[in-house]
């Protein structure tokens, strides 16, 4: 089971939409994946606690993160969406 940490400013609006899209994309690609949402300020702590496979965020993140961090804005705007999806799938298939 893969784990993606989804972070945004309040963990309220954008991260919910982005998290659902990620779950849907994973499912469509036969990848077992769950998501956990975090506020930007809590994201680093959650990263340390949960050891996710990737972080998708619609905000800037602080701290030393050594896993892939994907800008999740494409899931909202639709701009460069396919390349973002490809990037995510590649990470999750590892």
């Amino acid at each position: 089971m893969k784990l993606v940490l989804v972070a945004c400013g309040t963990a309220l609006a954008t991260s919910t939409v982005v998290a659902k899209k990620i779950e849907q994309i994973a499912q469509e690609n036969g990848i077992e994946c769950r998501t956990v949402q975090a506020k930007a300020v809590d994201a680093f702590q959650k990263y340390q606690e949960l050891h996710p496979d990737a972080i998708v965020c619609t905000c800037q993140l602080e701290g030393d993160i050594d896993i892939p961090v994907i800008n999740g804005r494409a899931f909202l705007t639709g701009i460069n969406l396919q390349s973002t999806i490809d990037q995510l799938i590649e990470i999750l298939k590892k």
């Binding site: 309220l12 609006a13 919910t16 939409v17 905000c59």
Partner: protein, 150 residues
């Protein structure tokens, strides 16, 4: 129609000075209707400074919002702007995004409101819809346009 969006929460062709003015204007009907607390605007403005919400869609959109504790009744306010206002980019505060449509989100239960949030995201990815919303001369037109997506 989803009860979060009402005709009396839609304002068209407005003129504002800056992004913070735009947030205050969008919040006005929600405040009058008892949907948000008095300090929602201040909190949303503060959040916008730290975690901006401008998106570089074909017509720039911003999705200002803030913590659930400032929300009394979940609601969404829509403002279209006559002039273009600069918001900073979501995830990239140094980026300047010219915005003409603002969706102010007063949400405290995103799981419950997932469908309306997803609808807004579907709409902003649709160039034709954004153009129609921007061109709308009255709130009813925007209400009807969004209704077709719900």
């Amino acid at each position: 129609m989803d009860s979060l969006i009402h005709i009396d929460r839609i304002q068209v062709n407005c003129t504002v000075n800056d992004q913070f003015d735009a947030i205050a204007l969008a919040a006005k009907p929600l405040l009058e209707q008892g949907c948000i607390t008095e300090d929602f605007v201040e909190a949303a403005v503060e959040r916008e400074r730290t975690f901006p919400t401008g998106l570089p869609t074909t017509i720039g959109v911003a999705l200002p919002h803030t913590e659930a504790k400032y929300v009394l009744k979940e609601s969404i306010s829509i403002v279209t702007l006559k002039n273009t206002i600069v918001f900073a980019g979501m995830g990239n505060p140094k980026e300047s995004i010219p915005v003409q449509i603002v969706f102010l989100l007063a949400i405290n239960n995103p799981e419950k409101q997932l469908r309306i949030l997803q609808t807004i995201i579907t709409i902003i990815q649709n160039e034709k819809m954004l153009k129609k919303i921007k061109a709308a001369k009255e709130p009813q037109s925007i209400y009807n346009l969004i209704k077709t997506f719900l």
